[in-house]
Subunit: 320 residues, 6 copies
């Protein structure tokens, strides 16, 4: 396990630093005397610091890499600066705790993936089971680190798995209450509804989204998801009605045309999928935003929600 | 228990009828010979029939009353008509099964009320418990038969209790998943959010809504609910922040100004209340509408949902 | 060639009728004497008439079939009725002129199809040519009679071909004016943009649309078109950027989310496709509506256009 | 009466200043030699100046206080700075003319309040008179200095009284023209419609609004006003119809859901109240904005009005 | 003066009728014996009755004409029918009280016109006076009987004058309160803002609007009014700024694009004009609608107002 | 013809410059020694440079003028600065190529004007020909340099002519395809639809728009265009229906109230005009925006189009 290390926001001049940091960007430069040095910006979840390595510039790390650093904090132009003595790439053996470096889902991706697999195994509808398994296969490893959005809800490493597994819990509860719902159909909808975000967003293994892909911009994950489902369902010979219903669930899960769904949910499982998606997104976003303000205060207006939020004074309730 | 009785939609000429029916309207008239007779329209959940009682017009039942009838089916102007031999008011001893006469919630109102009381008793927040108890007291007996709407979701006898108790199940599940939520606050919101429908709608004990009240039209149940909460909370000396938050939950539970909420939900419990309300209304409405069409068919466009609905062919799943 | 025949709107009692009519519906019934007879409703483009065949009920035509009738006009309950003496199915040799029976495109479907084939042959981009050819193949024979809508623009036999070929003329003109446009890409977009209406609408060979299909209702021709394109493009190994651009053109051709396009046109060829589609639909619809009113008059408010239209007094200009 | 004093915008280095200024903020600090001094920002309606009192720091005024200052203007870092020789709190005897220090209503609050009292006394409807008097009592002294908004129309000391009394004039004129209106009801609506702004906004006695209160954010002055009216009306036993109508007037005075009124005005007095409110807000805002530009020029786009305004060249007309 | 006459709604079989009625339509017909008779529908403000004149069919009145009738009430097919003995056109000497026959403004058109002339004479701005006088001249006699709308507010004989003169009272009051307004400019705006309704609507001298004119449909009275003002102002050499401001007032008086104003009011007089127009239309419409229901009741939903209206129980206040 | 000259964006210190530049602004100043010098900012289409003329300040050019400059590039405060040795006004003989200095239409205004004249000469409808000629006369010389907008499509010197002549080509093509259209009417609409932009925008001869005029702000070019048409049509005695139709075409060419058209197009020529206008604006704007990004990239969100645009990788197609 990783040793405790100072947080960037706590660094003060003259302090020594030893620990792991994420590379934001790095460049080899030449100083006035003609010597090479490394100019590098490093981050943990609390902030960012510029660093220089003045000699032994043996390797130039790439953006998104985690490196182990030893060095001393100095000051330059009124800003902290780290003078690096030693630096190396991190290895699996370091067991770096990523949540100290970037926002991460609260559970391990492997555990969350296991929940999903377990739910698929439980399915009584063999066609749905086959179809979902095939789609998970096609999604590949990216599913493990993929965030669920560029900047809104679940914009965190493995956010897609976090969003999906939380919704699966909701789906189970909803099917217990509204017993006329087909729970396999709803679970299948939950698992695949956002799967094409993997192709819509350009994310590295760290779980940082840099941009939308060309397909993401021109088609969007909803329509890409329908196409993929249609293609694979035809390959597998999935029952046509079942396939079209599942495609409709993906297509309608944003509910309104202006949010990307050309059709509104037209049967109860599609409606339930939309509402569970809304619930999970809102709970995540509200909770995250409220963590940033003090009890008894309002947040600033949040553009995605078109409102301010209030964090109650009564501290037992507002924090978890 | 009530004996089996023929359904109005099954009546044929010359058949005898004995059983309980609901009075739609009744009037004493005078025939060509100057004799009084009773002209009465009677309904069960399957249809309506006109009836005459030609002699012994000893009492004229009022609309909404349940009567026991014995008579014979005839035909007049190509339409069925019932000649009444005997008629009396129903009594509690008759144990009339109301669901045979009008749409009713699937559970008994007393049982549903017990669930609510149980949830209130469970509350750890004493102020909320006191406040909710007081509001339930003020609501009086009307809560037992009140529908939840004039014509949309839960427009059924005891629909308000049905809606409330189903939402309480949802609230429990949501608090299990999103543990930062204050479950007492959410449960209190669920129980009181529609309580002022009792003053907004004009309903008789049968559970039929004839119209909106003057207050219902000029203020609406949301604002009436906030006023009532404010008045009672001040009387009880409820903590100001808690009271204002609860008022806000009632105020914002329709989410958007155009649906009657001048403020959107501004903290997680308010948002959860809105989403649970939406979920229960949608599940009820979709299920009811789909029961009216055949598997594999679409409903007509439903104006309140602004869409058609599809009932899948696969019969195991679409029916409960 | 077909002989001249009376129009239904001109029939008067006692007249003889000989000619071809379209069957709206037909049923075998039994008269009071226990004898079988045929009860049939027949239409041409000017109206509808009920007919009876009292004997020799040897075959019962199906809705949408064209039959040759000989009979005499009578009157029953103040309405015209045709007594059929002889009736047979029409054959290709009859060369029935369909425009006398239902609204038809002004050109023959074969001629219009030839224009499309010619345009495809002209394509310099081999990938586009291959893709469009394959999509036309999959569309099958239905393309020949398919209308372009259930009730709006080009709701006529072969309306889809009419719409497509007219837009191809527009596309050529637009590429001549705006020379930076890729004319093959635009032509491909025109040819395939509405092709999935064949699966969205339930049409018979006569070109009458009875309803939307389940897929049509749940997915819509736009998304169905994107899925199909995606599947076939992957099979053919079409260049990814080209394929995604063509999918985007289909996806965005209704321009706005509320009209079914989750993405607006994001490059000039997509925009041009949308505008050419709009132009052809509007010209067709306005011209059709104005033909129904007198010069100098306004139409009633047309719901699809949200306006009334004016037909000018100056007759040379307003009619074609 | 207050003696003439220089305006902050006219101060030049070396000038002497004697007069009254408003304290924006004030802090005791310690100079390099370890001595206490007072660092204070002072404003009048024309601008703001920083000041220092280097010795005899006997009292530290609080924000919003008016102080009498004697000192000399200097310059520090290219900005004016006032060296204070003497400073004391202002007293009622000073008769400070507040309009020289902050935006104020053009009439004295006491005079405006008198107009309101006079209108209440004139009421023939005893219930309305009692109700309005009670609401004015509950409003307390804050009514004298309260602005009518944080940043839009009547954002001035005593702006609420200014807005109310001007609308009362309008109400009188409207009742003279449309004689079917109940003038007492309309006057009561005018007086109470914005009264809960006192609880919605956090204002000091100077009439500066710093923020919305928690209640203001979560409920808004409209709903707070309805609740208060309902509670007091029930206490006083006000006729139910009259009370509900008055509540409706408060509730509907913003006319549209998106402006905070869940119900539109549903009888003529409610409509008249809304229109008088609109008229007064617009006249105030347009006039204020036009005073900031030259004749013959347009203002910038004003976001609250979603338009630019034009000030005519003809100077007699455009200025008052 | 006209003698009292029975109201159509009070007629009973066998009664004699003598009085004036308005011709809705009239046609000469031929009875089974080949004799000519007159078939005519007649109205007063309370209803409509069919009448026959069996002989002496010497003249056939035209729709919209007022005739003097003597006859007797009979019954035909369960409906009242008037057998006419004598009929003649009405003459000025009859002094027919039109308000008994159709909805009329409460004051005489001549008196209202005098008010307008008086206001114009009062104008200090000679250019405005000249311009308004010229526009009134061009309007001609139609101004005397013109309604202000086809079916909404002031759809009554001389409704345009009624609307204009009531707004002039409002304008005077508003200028007294907001003294920075140019009262001549506002009065000019009031007088001319709806003047082009005379060309927009097709009205007969009775004051009944049958339809919109071609210009009315294609351009609308607002744009027609601007064009006319522009043309006449240029002829008269009106100061350009003054003319453009007046054109803007006409153009913006419906406030919003969706109500026909491409520009919103951009100076105070334009805003005041819009608000006075709104006030007068709303007061008229609400009062008219409420007169149709009983105290304590709601109207049906009124489409132009998008709401129901409430008539209070307290009768002193709700009726004039 | 103009000699090649360096582009501002390519200037480097010490370089000599000789050529023509556009004056952005110029001022005479006095240096520390009391001597006059000229301080001037100069632009070409690639950028802007500050210049000084230290002696012989014989003339001060005005903004928008083109001057011939000879001088040397220096540096001051890290920015390029031009020291002017000689400067004179440009003359027609210089044959300055304006497209090197500001955005210009790709064709010469005289050539474009000729196209328009040719189309008018071709008109068979003498009334339209007379009307259009008269409007072109009134437009005067400004038509030669006028841009078509302040900042959107065709914001270039002679942009109005460019827009008009391109649309004329489109109109010809559309009339060939939809033969029921009146081509003279459509061409007339094209030529006059934006003509009043000349009065709406304040442009100098260079073709730079500085602002909207008072009329432009208060009325807008659409309504100004209708008024002008109405006035001139009445003077010429143009047939009323024809005139009203043409006015309607101008009025409706923005299609929707929120874009400035109070009436939607109500006959086919009006609709065609709107669509051709839309097509030309969109093609121009998209092409211009895409020229600013690299192949394979997206533009930033473009506010007027409410979307991003994509420039394809395939370079043959995306560039002209």
């Amino acid at each position: 396990m990783m040793k405790p290390q100072p947080r960037i926001c706590d660094l003060i001049p003259a302090a020594m630093f030893e620990g792991f940091l994420l590379v934001k960007d790095a460049q080899e430069r030449i100083n006035v005397k003609g010597a090479k040095y490394l100019d590098i910006n490093l981050t943990d979840i609390t902030g960012e610091i510029n660093a220089k390595k003045w000699d032994n510039v043996d390797f130039i790390p790439s953006a998104g890499q985690v490196v182990k650093i030893r060095g001393q904090v100095g000051e330059f132009n009124n800003r902290m600066q780290l003078r690096i003595d030693r630096m190396r790439e991190s290895t699996p053996e370091d067991e770096v705790e990523m949540p100290l470096l970037i926002p991460c889902a609260p559970r391990k991706p492997e555990d969350m993936m296991e929940d999903i697999i377990a739910r698929v195994d439980e399915m009584e509808n063999a066609q749905l089971k086959q179809l979902v398994n095939r789609l998970l296969d096609e999604a590949g490893d990216a599913i493990f680190y993929m965030p669920a959005a560029k900047s809104l809800h679940h914009a965190q490493r493995s956010g897609l798995l976090n969003h999906t597994t939380t919704m699966l819990k909701g789906a189970r509860a909803v099917c217990d209450i509204y017993t006329f719902l087909d729970s396999d159909l709803l679970a299948a909808g939950v698992i695949i509804h956002d799967l094409c975000k993997i192709e819509e967003l350009r994310s590295d293994e760290i779980g940082l989204v840099s941009d939308y892909t060309v397909e993401g911009n021109l088609l969007g994950h909803i329509v890409m998801g329908v196409s993929r489902l249609d293609r694979i369902g035809r390959e597998l010979g999935t029952d046509r009605e079942l396939l079209v219903m599942l495609e409709h669930m993906v297509l309608s899960h944003h509910d309104l045309p202006e949010y990307g769904s050309p059709k509104p949910p037209m049967f109860p499982e599609a409606e339930a999928l939309h509402i569970l998606d809304l619930l999970d997104a809102r709970m995540f976003e509200m909770n995250s935003e409220l963590e940033k303000v003090n009890p008894g205060a309002f947040t600033d207006r949040i553009w995605s929600l078109e409102r301010k939020l209030y964090r109650r004074q009564d501290t037992e309730a507002a924090e978890e």
